[in-house]
Amino acid sequence: MIDHIWTALVMLSSWNLMLTIAICSLYGLFVGAVPGLTATMAAALLVPFTFFMDPLPALVAIVTMEAMAIFAGDIPAALVRIPGTPSSAAYTDDSYELTKQGKAEMVLGVDVITSAIGGLMGALVLMTAAPLLAEVALKFTSFEYFWLAALGLSATVMIASTDPLKAGLALFVGLFFSTVGLDITLGYPRFTLGTTELLNGVDFIPAMIGLFGVSEILRNMGSSHLQYPITAVKAEKIFSGVAKTLWKYKANMVRSGAIGTFIGILPGAGADIAAWIAYAASKRFSKEPELFGKGAIEPIVDAGTANNACLAGDWVPALVFGIPGDSITAIVIGVLFMKGLRPGPMIFEQQPELVYAVYISFIIANILMVPFGYLAIKASGTALKVPRNILMPTILMFCIVGSFAINNSFFDVGLMLAMGILGYFFENNGIPVAPIVLGMVLGPIVEQNFMVSMIKSEWDLTQFFTRPTAAILGVMTIVTWLAPFTPAMMKRMRGGNASQ
């Protein structure tokens, strides 16, 4: 293990990786600090650049960017009451109320330190849990992989969304996209519309750029906010009093770090869900729940720790099983495939230095978050002053060129545009976009393992429950499907008992 850590450290100490980390930190901080630009969109726009990088810098770039972006989302939440990314939404009201009371510096100081601590806690869990789970995953067959992917998809719909019906629809759309191209059993072309470009399937990268980049641009075009009125912040004062506050809420941080990492490990649930759950837990156990939403620091400590802890947790299922923990790790899996690497337990044996480098880059990113976060807070006025009517067209140009760059094909630019319209239409009608990505990534895993299992078992469905781990995962999946009906069933049963 020490050898792998040393090799990873040597790999990370090259000047071009340092430069990658520095550039991606600034990129993540900028994207996070500008309301309307999300970390997922930033990851999608980063992919065309990672296409020209080796696997390690590509992964380090995404790790650094996402950690910084999730923290930076707290800055506009505190200064203009608009969360920079959805992960900061849970505690936006508390942050802004404190800013109105003249405590913006304290809020931002707590934000940056809890983000770094949360991120480090998540990295610690990633380093310990991932290798252990990889040992277990080595024994998995197509039955277990099928159920695991099905569980991931079900969790996306049932746990990670407010409207399971609409999330389900988005998921089926993503799964449908994954069926386009040559099928795995007979190599028969499906839904290719007679084009050669679709024989290899719907290209993941232009689709991501369209769904997260173009749709976001289209939405922002309708916004009346060109610039935001912001509160001036004295950056040099952000750390005063933070240690005392954090010491008071040390138990909260441990609890929220655990919640965030656990939510991250669940396939499909990302940092925004982690923040909301940590916020709810904080309110439930707080001595002053009546202050929540009116300018309390406690929920900021809790949810701010949880959302960054979640990020490393998201990488656990992605690295171990090839099943994304959230939409960003779905993109990461796409990048790994693009680099000819197959995420799964074997990566821990074949490329251990790469895995260790990912661990260490999480630690580096979260340590660097403190000085970089300080600079971001100092420069927050500038980021928020960039006019949207100039920013959005320039991002559009990056989307166009980035989509083209993957295959040097205008078909991909058209695909990006079509996906952008789809994402815009879906979001406007309350249909989440993230399940589409998860469907596109998990679709081939589900179908391939299902078909292999069916052929292997000579079409005997009971074989899906004969192996103990497969049976447990199968039951968990079915229980997840039944979850929305449980309250109604319980009510009916209670009603029946009462009438007896």
Binding site: L165, F172, I390, F398, M454
Partner: protein
């Protein structure tokens, strides 16, 4: 562009039915077992079922009034801006090979910024400078063959 759940659900029922219809001529595996058609048919069925449930929910809550918003779309600045972008990118795809990235990219940037009320001179300067940077980054450093068209740089 919010439309009623009843209509959205009906759209997904149609999409699900079309997916299933598209698989009717797919070949089977040995022994008559379903092959390439199995997974899309399950998905089509689920899509139609979920779409139907959303439609029913929409009918029950009487949300059809949202469709009236469609009649007012031509007055929505956000919608017009979005259409502008779509037309602009489509025009870019159609003409970039003839005109080249440096010209067409700058033109697209300028037109979209102008539409978003950036003063024309400022929009022109930003469009030309930014597009040249993008060209340098992708075409010169990353060796992406962006179309040259009329401008050979």
């Amino acid at each position: 562009m919010k439309i009623s759940d009843t209509v959205v659900g009906a759209g997904f029922v149609t999409a699900g039915a079309l997916i299933i219809a598209g698989t009717l001529n797919y070949p089977s595996l040995e022994g008559g077992h379903p092959g390439p058609s199995l997974f899309p048919r399950i998905l089509g069925g689920m899509m139609a079922a979920f779409g139907g449930l959303i439609s029913l929910k929409g009918l029950r809550t009487g949300d059809a009034t949202q469709d009236v918003e469609w009649l007012l779309l031509h007055k929505s600045t956000g919608f017009i801006n979005a259409v502008f972008v779509l037309v602009g990118v489509t025009a870019y795809i159609l003409f970039v090979e003839k005109l080249g990235f440096l010209l067409m990219g700058a033109l697209l940037l300028f037109v979209v910024m102008w539409r978003l009320k950036v003063p024309p001179l400022k929009a022109l300067i930003v469009a030309v400078v930014f597009n040249t940077i993008v060209h340098f980054l992708f075409a010169k450093i990353m060796r992406v063959p962006l179309p040259l068209g009329l401008v050979w740089w």
